[in-house]
């Protein structure tokens, strides 16, 4: 176990399941989301999209639409900047509106601003777009072949990203191996499906633009909006209200902000833009479909000697965050197990389908599914228990991965052992009745990305705290973004702890590029560690000033004083106390506002090879999952009974919120494991662009969830924290696939692990057995 320097500490505020800071507003319906806001004279806007997967735009005629009463503006590519954009600076390939051709069903063609929503839909029907339909590239496995339709002329053979990395000597490792095995898997497209649809309200005043947006990162929006319109960042304000879930889908500009900003400028009125549910699916940016071939060589004890991951991803029509997704897919694979020789090949391929991007666990869950299935196959072939082979290969603390990620705290071995004990693995494995099975898998994830999405030397997070004049309350100003995960609560707890104050009197102003200090936002599970580090520093600055003041008031040496939970006291004389509020008030009277500030930048991380930055992080979380399933042999129906998740996520600031993150991540992982899948017809049109047919799991689909924690301390994080929100999605699909195999002896090599696939595999297995028996 790593040294836990929190073990003997007695914290007043952190480590406790305080209620959410926004709980009351949310349960009473008072919490305002962007779509709930309205402004005087506000117009409504919608984007007209392409009905074809691939077509040349011959002409766009907006005359009839403009004549419709209630229509205030109609815009096309002629009315907006033609500068290409994208969240990934390595490949800007999107335009606000398509200029020469459309590249997927849902590509943006024009937009309208009208007095109400109804008029928007009518106006869009009156815009006449003439298309010349082109053959489309819809299958990512063949899109690179000669003669396939080209999605972007600039990118021959539809290659968006190509990666070839090798660390150590994989060939030699395979030669030295006792056993080498190759398996192939397929992962499906999924979609984040936050329950709140995307929306954005844009308005101008004196040449300055303000956008309210349901976003995971006001900063990146501000950066890209300023770039697109050639404005100073200081003239663009982006702020969020409450955000109804993101999961990666609200990290990049959606097009609503660009179109809305132009419509608002032309009309001189605020414009509210939104996506309806179908449009959300069409815009997408969810998880890539992915083909994964993995070859691994092991010694006779099952110790991994080398591994080759050879992947291909369906990028869809644009880059989105996909370059990072492609790198992540391979970069995070060597985290949970230790081996020296690793080779990673990847093509991310353009197709005429909606673009894919970052979804919870970014790039990692599907490769993890593949690898965890593959490892179980190896264990079976060698006659080793699945948990045993994982323990033998488990990464140890203070090690370095073959791709040069430094891992500090790492309790994966303890996670496996605890999950084994909690689940009753030893009593169950191999002893369950037919149809019932148990499976295991591991996962790991970054606690914030080591480098920002675009090149900049800005710190990754910053924070400010202001104590009220009478000292009875304090406000934390942070650019961190609460999208539901609870960062407002956790950061307020951290601020109170660092200041020696109480949580109940904390207030927070967050995620507004004008009033709060810079932070990159909610992605890559970064905020507890990175934003938290900035908040801790700001709180400590308050504390130092406060104690300095108290020393004057009490006429004692500042080093003799300490403050905790709103009370200043002497370390040596228990009769000496002073309230936080009295000292803070006196500070204001004598010295002016009591404010503290902090910022955080990670150390320089990673190696020097191409793509070395992706996957670097100051710290990595680890977890093990075990699941138990019951399969109906006749129908293939999978009943998920129990899941045990054990996490090593460093010091826990709020156990209640943390377990909530685990439950949510598991829920998403479960949906992707068995039901969820974005489907298209042969023309590239969405066939299940709604929540019912997409098959989001309901309460009835959920297993019993048991989540456990390993005591750990991460030296790179404030108070020893690291991530939890995404890591729990990583093992889930592999865990279920392994449980299904254990139950029925059939290996489902593609996601989702549907009832039908199980049924078919069982049927094939029976037929094969019958044949062999003859």
């Amino acid at each position: 176990m790593s040294e836990n320097t929190n073990a003997n500490k007695d914290y007043a505020v952190i480590g406790k399941s305080v209620p959410r800071i926004d709980g009351r507003e949310k349960v009473t319906g008072a919490a305002k989301y962007t779509g709930d806001l309205s402004f005087p004279n506000m117009l409504y806007g919608k984007i007209l999209t392409s009905p074809y997967a691939h077509a040349r735009i011959i002409s766009i005629d907006t005359v009839e639409a403009e004549k419709l009463p209630g229509v205030k503006a109609v815009i096309t590519h002629k009315d907006v900047p033609t500068l290409k954009y994208g969240i990934s600076p390595a490949r800007w390939d999107e335009n606000i509106f398509c200029i020469d051709k459309v590249r997927f069903v849902g590509d943006k063609v024009a937009a309208v601003a009208c007095i109400d929503e109804k008029t928007c839909y009518e106006a869009m029907k009156l815009i006449k777009v003439e298309y010349e339909v082109l053959p489309a590239a819809l299958d990512f496995l063949t899109a690179m072949d000669e003669g396939q339709p080209q999605v972007h002329d600039e990118y021959p053979n539809n290659i968006n990203t190509e990666i070839h990395q090798e660390f150590g000597d994989v060939e030699q490792a395979f030669k030295d191996a006792h056993y080498v095995r190759t398996d192939r898997f397929l992962g499906q497209r999924t979609y984040h499906s936050p329950i709140e649809p995307h929306s954005a309200i844009s308005m101008w005043q004196d040449g300055k633009l303000t956008i309210y947006s349901s976003t995971q990162s006001p900063h990146y929006f501000q950066h890209y909006i300023a770039r697109e319109f050639d404005m100073k960042m200081g003239d663009v304000r982006v702020l969020k209200t409450y955000v109804g879930g993101g999961f990666g889908g609200k990290l990049e500009p959606t097009g609503l902000e660009f179109a809305g900003a132009v419509l608002a400028r032309i009309t001189g009125r605020p414009v509210k833009m939104f996506y309806d549910r179908h449009e959300m699916f069409a815009h997408n940016r969810g998880r890539h479909a992915q083909y994964m071939e993995i070859t691994t060589g092991v010694d006779k004890d099952g110790k991994i000697l080398g591994c080759h991951a050879n992947f291909k991803m369906d990028g869809g029509a644009y880059t989105s965050l996909g370059i990072a997704s492609a790198y992540y897919a391979g970069a995070l694979l060597p985290l949970t197990y230790e081996f020296d020789n690793y080779k990673f090949d990847m093509f991310r391929v353009y197709t005429n389908l909606p673009a894919c991007g970052a979804q919870r666990g970014h790039g990692a869950p599907q490769p993890k599914y593949a690898f965890e299935c593959h490892l179980d196959e190896i264990a079976k072939d060698l006659g080793i228990d699945p948990i045993e082979i994982r323990i033998r290969n488990a990464r140890r603390p203070n090690t370095v991965t073959p791709n040069e990620f430094g891992v500090n705290s790492c309790e994966i071995k303890s996670c496996l052992e605890m999950a084994r004990d909690m689940s009753g693995w030893v009593e169950k494995k191999g002893k369950l009745p037919k149809g019932r099975g148990i499976g295991v898998a591991t996962g790991s994830f970054v606690s914030g990305a080591g480098y920002p999405i675009y090149r900049t030397n800005l710190p990754h997070a910053a924070a400010m705290i202001k104590v009220a004049e009478d000292g009875t309350a304090a406000t934390l100003y942070t650019g961190a973004v609460d999208i539901g995960q609870g960062s407002d609560t956790v950061l307020s707890q951290m601020a109170a702890e660092a200041m020696g104050f109480v949580y109940e009197q904390m207030k927070i102003v967050a995620a507004d590029t004008e009033t709060t200090p810079h932070d990159f936002g909610a992605y890559a599970s970064r905020q507890t560690l990175m934003s938290g580090a900035a908040v801790k520093q700001a709180g400590e600055e308050i504390k130092a000033q406060l104690l300095d003041m108290a020393a004057v008031i009490l006429q004692r040496d500042p080093s003799d004083l300490e403050v905790k939970a709103g009370v200043i006291y002497s370390r040596t004389d228990s009769s000496v106390t002073l309230s936080f509020a009295d000292a803070a008030k006196e500070f204001f009277v004598r010295r002016g506002p009591l404010v503290g500030k902090g910022s955080y930048a990670p150390p320089k991380l990673g190696g020097k090879f191409k793509g070395a930055a992706v996957g670097t992080s100051p710290a990595y979380s680890f977890c093990a999952q075990i699941s138990e399933v019951q399969i109906d042999e006749e129908t293939g129906v999978i009943d998920v009974l129990d899941v045990w998740d054990v996490h090593d996520c460093g010091m826990v600031i709020n156990p209640g919120l943390l377990h909530g993150q685990v439950h949510g991540a598991l829920y998403m992982g479960l949906g992707e494991s068995i039901w969820e899948q974005v489907l298209f017809d042969k023309n590239g049109k969405l066939v299940n662009g709604n929540l019912g047919e997409y098959r989001l799991p309901t309460a009835l689909d959920m297993p019993r969830v048991h989540s456990g924690l390993i005591d750990s301390y991460e030296p790179a994080g404030p108070w020893g924290v690291k991530e939890v929100g995404e890591g729990s999605t990583n093992p889930t699909m592999g865990c279920f696939a392994n449980a299904i195999y254990d139950a029925m002896g059939v290996r489902i090599n593609s996601l989702p692990l549907t009832y039908e696939k199980v049924w078919k595999a069982l049927k094939e297995k029976r037929e094969l057995e019958q044949k062999q028996n003859k």
């Binding site: 926004d22 009473t28 709930d36 909530g660 969830v705």
Partner: protein, 156 residues
């Protein structure tokens, strides 16, 4: 074509002139300016728009406003009384059943409908009662816990 309707919303009599094709959801959000009722899909899939219509939970995006004429509508704004949270609301906070909060108003009303009929529901009955309400954040576990606990609470 518009119609005049009268109805009771959160205990108050309201007279509204609404287009015949307007949904109850849009009337609640636009005409009554009660933004606590959410629109997640406008298609009857998500349950974010759940309100009680004469004590029955409905997806208000699937009900026409005129169908609410002479009926009683309860939205999330109608639950807390005099600044005091309804026990279900308090339980949602206490048990951590809220994350992003977008499903919460609908979920709380669905829970109320369950408990109004059966103050002591089983876990299965709760799951069935909220099966029409999607939550993308919580995995439902803490929501079920909160409903279980508030059932006990309300009973005393």
């Amino acid at each position: 074509m518009n119609k005049d309707i009268s109805l009771v919303v959160n205990g108050e009599a309201r007279y509204i002139n609404v287009p015949a094709d307007k949904t109850l959801l849009d009337m609640i959000r636009e005409d009554l300016n009660l933004k606590g009722t959410k629109k997640g899909c406008d298609a009857g899939d998500c349950g974010a728009c759940t309100v009680l219509l004469d004590a029955e939970p409905v997806n208000s995006c699937l009900v026409l406003a005129v169908e609410a004429a002479n009926k009683e509508v309860t939205t999330i704004e109608g639950l807390a009384k005099g600044g005091e949270l309804h026990p279900i609301q308090a339980a949602f906070i206490k048990h951590g059943a809220v994350q992003c909060g977008f499903c919460t108003p609908g979920m709380v009303l669905a829970a109320k409908a369950i408990l109004d009929k059966n103050p002591n529901p089983s876990v299965e009955e709760i799951k069935e009662g909220i099966a029409g309400n999607f939550c993308r954040c919580t995995g439902y576990k803490k929501i079920v816990d909160a409903v279980l606990a508030s059932g006990r609470n309300i009973q005393g």
